[in-house]
Symmetry: C2
Subunit: 342 residues, 2 copies
């Protein structure tokens, strides 16, 4: 195998010291411009590549950011990751990505791995059932910056990057009410998680503003999965008094529910109107097209990594920023429109 070129090779060929070569390659101001040019040219010529391990070892930095998400293969998360990767790549940072698969146990294992990998910072969207903060303490103790995004850990004192979920829930529900629907069921996920509890708050507020009585039996907690959508449809079919609208906290679940409802001879929006959440591409390709709340997933990923890198570089203090809220918005399509029955 071809021998690796080091700064020592460059140094000896140019009759310089390794120190000078190192400084030149890092564009240190104390080095003469001409010398820099010389060294860079020689480095290029020899096919030199810096050894990150030697460098990291000495600098005690890893240039690596850890990311823990519930799942990688959901539209939202894969898009968040795509945004993260883009920024990290541009800034010369590496990402170590792992998935908790919605289990706190796995999430704890992942944080341990991240800790041992000595990530410079950690970005987390917590699992459904996480209720302990314990496994994040080592990071705080070692002053390793920790940022939550999407599903945050409330009361943690860590910076958060979120959308205004309450506003999203409010707008979705308000829209349904404005369309004339009154008996609205809310399909959501584990209410431990801010994203779902906040949307529920928005739902409740919209109801209350319009003088509609909130009934807790109209809030159905599910896994928001494809299967959950099917079950919801069957449950609705069996209901003696059917709702006139659904507000579902995930497009994929909403869409699966709509499909199953159709199989059960309940049509959307004629019999039941539906609003989803996320603006997953799937929302545009079904019939009727799904009204939803746009979720700025890519921007969230970009923002998370940008904030982290800025903080690591000392550009701004994360402690000061507590929460960054990104813009989300209602997208009205066919699934929620009141049609006059001719």
């Amino acid at each position: 195998m071809g021998k690796e070129i080091t700064i020592y090779d460059i140094a000896s060929q140019l009759q310089l010291s390794p120190a000078t070569v190192s400084r030149a390659l890092n564009n240190h101001p104390a080095i003469n411009e001409k010398t820099k040019v010389l060294i860079n040219a020689k480095a290029e010529e020899l096919g030199y590549r810096s050894n990150k391990f030697a460098s990291n070892l000495r600098k005690q930095k890893t240039n690596t950011i850890g990311v823990i998400v519930p799942r990688l293969n959901s539209y939202i998360m894969s898009t968040v990751i795509a945004g993260m990767e883009k920024v990290a790549n541009d800034e010369g940072f590496n990402l170590i990505i792992s998935q908790s698969l919605e289990s706190q146990r796995k999430e704890i294992a992942n944080t341990k791995t991240m800790f041992n990998s000595r990530v410079d910072g950690l970005l987390v969207s917590v699992a459904f059932d996480t209720d302990s903060f314990e496994h994040f303490q080592p990071f705080l103790k070692k002053k390793i910056p920790l940022i939550f995004f999407d599903r945050i850990f409330e009361n943690s004192d860590c910076p958060n990057i979120v959308i205004d979920n309450a506003k999203g829930g409010y707008e979705a529900t308000k829209h349904l009410i404005e369309q004339g629907f009154k008996n609205i069921i809310h399909i959501t996920g584990n209410l431990k998680r801010n994203v779902y509890s906040d949307r529920l708050k928005g739902y409740q507020q919209a109801l209350s503003e319009s003088g509609i009585l909130f009934k807790s039996e109209n809030v159905w907690v599910t896994a928001l999965s494809l299967e959950a959508g099917k079950e919801v449809a069957h449950r609705i079919k069996a209901l003696p008094i059917k709702p006139d609208a659904l507000f579902v906290s995930s497009d994929l679940c909403a869409v699966s529910c709509i499909a199953t409802l159709k199989d059960l001879d309940i049509t959307v929006p004629n019999d039941i109107a539906v609003v989803g959440f996320n603006n997953d591409p799937v929302s545009q390709v079904i019939s009727p097209k799904l009204t939803t709340i746009h979720y700025p997933a890519k921007e969230m990923g970009e923002m998370a990594v940008k904030s982290m890198i800025n903080h690591l570089k000392g550009n701004f203090n994360l402690d000061a920023t507590n929460t960054i809220t990104l813009r989300s918005e209602l997208i009205v399509r066919e699934s929620s429109l009141f049609l006059t029955h001719s």
Copy 2:
């Protein structure tokens, strides 16, 4: 900040040498069992964590596998990555993931980054427009194992992990023919890529076996995106003689096409039958449910990383294995069924 514990700390506290500590922690056979227990206990007690940078520097290994994919946020790719992450995580390897965004230029930049990050191995699914192998040469020269998956680089001598795309294309088309459809349009992606050219071969074979004349104008090359699906629908609408079936190389595109056709008063499968590819969840939640070819994305990701790690550990020789083919299968749903028009 809390000071980091090193093997030297453990060594001095136990009156041993760092060498012994290092060996003990790595379970070296020459170390006495009792000593190992002692050292492990002390390591635990002090909260020792190994410094991967020192270790990698010395061992000249990175324990890191690079992954380059066209996009992260497609169902297939995010699922492949999920599978990769699972195995890599279990085996103590890190993944560096980057996306080429379907551009050869970006792919080249990514390979450079991977090369400079000194990944131990590289897994690649190539971009739409990649036609040069040049940027992979440095890896071969340095004998860094390179494995292609899904979209492979043909005639590269590198191991490949794929499904039998020709078989998939054949089965999809054959199924349509068996349903009585004869004028089948094939919607596909850039034919430079094996996945598309092979499926086309299967399509052609199925036609020829049934004595149906292959017409090149029945093969439409598109981006297979959501937008592409819409365009296809409009193009079909404008056709004087309409096809009776479509074989689309991506579910998302197929589904988007179906939705648009519906808007244009062409119903599926009554007017036109459709078969997709991938078994994307979206295929189950639309109406009619989409017939498709199941793509074992998670298994592919797992297999890719497993093969790579096995090779890196010297368990088996990659050069011997040239191609690993995973099982795919036709899933018949409603979108392709011939309905007798009552």
